[in-house]
């Protein structure tokens, strides 16, 4: 597989969210504002790519019996780095994301990519795979938050799009709306991208 293909497969063809239905919890929780989704996505891309890289580097030394412990430790370390970075340099966003940054550790996508790809492939390939999966995840988050912020707040990235005539849809700012949007999004992807029969 070429590097480009690895990226394409993990970001789109085998997208973690719409194909493997992983990372749903955070897709529901942090998608009410686009800024939050973007920062969360960047955090996941960073933690995912680097932890995949590190796990792959250590893969031949890691005893099979404790590989999951090692993976969790590595993932946790990178996530804490993201958390510390946000708290020190972008405190406003850190406050808004609240506990969700720390919860990247429990994001199934990270463990999933570590087990499925990084523990059996070369470091550079794993890095690209991690990047791809992270980009795919961020993409879904941005699509959901685009709809939720537009209808729920009448704005995009905090900039007012609709005028004063617009009445915010309360449902859009609450978690259930993300369920509906995600489901419909997966439906559209299945029909249009995979050409499955609806």
């Amino acid at each position: 597989m070429t590097k480009k293909e690895i990226f394409r497969i993990s970001a789109f063809k085998e997208n973690s969210v719409w194909r493997q239905i992983l990372g749903i919890c955070s897709a529901l929780a942090v998608t009410n504002l686009m800024v939050n989704s973007l920062i969360m996505g960047l955090g996941v891309i960073f933690a995912l790519a680097l932890s995949c890289f590190t796990i792959s580097l250590l893969r031949s030394y890691t005893p099979r019996s404790i590989r999951m412990m090692v993976q969790t430790l590595i993932i946790a370390a990178y996530v804490i780095i993201v958390d510390i970075f946000l708290r020190a340099y972008i405190p406003v966003v850190s406050k808004q994301l609240g506990p969700y940054v720390g919860l990247i550790i429990t994001n199934c996508i990270l463990m999933g990519r570590a087990e499925a790809f990084a523990s059996q492939n070369k470091p550079l390939d794993s890095l690209i795979d991690g990047l791809g999966a992270g980009v795919g995840y961020t993409l879904v988050l941005l699509v959901i938050s685009f709809i939720r912020e537009l209808f729920g707040f009448g704005s995009l990235f905090g900039i007012k799009v609709f005028g004063d005539w617009w009445t915010n849809w309360s449902i859009m700012v609450m978690a259930p709306s993300a369920f509906f949007i995600l489901a419909m999004f997966i439906w559209v992807i299945n029909v249009k991208y995979y050409k499955n029969k609806a």
Binding site: N32, L33, L58, Y61, T62, P63, S65, I66, M69, V70, L73, I74, A77, I80, I81, I84, F85, R87, A88, P91, G98, G152, F153, N168, S170, M172, V173, M174
Partner: protein, 227 residues
């Protein structure tokens, strides 16, 4: 003993895990130490700025300065006018604004239960505690877009110059009962507060927090004044 055979022993996974834990925890500790001062400084600054901006109107009136000049002059203005004090028997942070030993107002850190978790707020009070000069809710976990709107200015501004004490207050019951009215309705009495549509529990939690906490603070203040 060759490496190969050591890797087959039971000891290898333990040693491996220990080493890798040390390495990663070490890296994190260094990173945390490096940014700890920055994080704490930022938190302290935001907090002090909030106290200052709540007290700025009173300070401005006394010194004949525009409130935003006082806020822009942080940290000089903070060090000059604001002091942290404590009331006996009250486990809360209390700040006092003074110009030439004349008390201009108090600022108290209060907490209360919201819908999803603890809310923390700073409230500014007049020197006699009768009037609320402002409130700033700085920590809450309410629903974004609904309850979280308690942080919005139109909501908190309703508490500017809000008469908080009853005229006939008794011990344990000093605070005026605020009355919630629908969002967008016009307040006909001074104790009416527009609540947030879709966030009834959060709105009344704010009122409840104010009532309970300011009661405690006022009692402590009275005790202190008697001493």
């Amino acid at each position: 003993m060759s490496t190969k055979s050591f890797r087959d022993t039971m000891l290898y996974p333990i040693v491996f895990m220990l080493v890798i834990s040390f390495v990663f925890v070490g890296v994190l500790a260094v990173m945390y130490r490096g940014s700890q001062a920055k994080i704490e400084a930022y938190e302290k600054e935001t907090y002090q700025k909030m106290v200052l901006s709540l007290l700025a109107t009173s300070i401005g009136e006394a010194t004949d300065t525009k409130p935003f000049h006082i806020i822009a002059d942080y940290p000089n203005s903070y060090n000059k006018y604001v002091k942290e004090i404590s009331f006996a028997g009250l486990d809360k942070r209390v700040f006092i604004a003074e110009v030439d030993t004349v008390v201009l107002g108090y600022c108290v850190d209060i907490t209360g239960k919201g819908l999803w978790g603890t809310m923390r707020a700073l409230v500014a009070l007049s020197p006699d505690f009768k009037t609320l000069h402002g409130i700033s809710i700085y920590d809450q976990m309410e629903t974004p877009g609904l309850g979280a709107r308690i942080g919005e200015e139109w909501f908190t501004n309703q508490f500017n110059n809000f008469p908080i004490l009853k005229t006939d207050g008794k011990p344990g019951d000093y605070v005026l009962d605020a009355q919630l009215i629908p969002e967008g309705a016009k307040a006909e009495q001074t104790n009416q507060i527009q609540q947030i549509t879709g966030a009834t529990i959060t709105s009344s939690s704010v009122i409840k927090m104010l009532k309970g906490e300011i009661n405690l603070v006022y009692e402590a203040y009275l005790r202190q004044a008697k001493l």
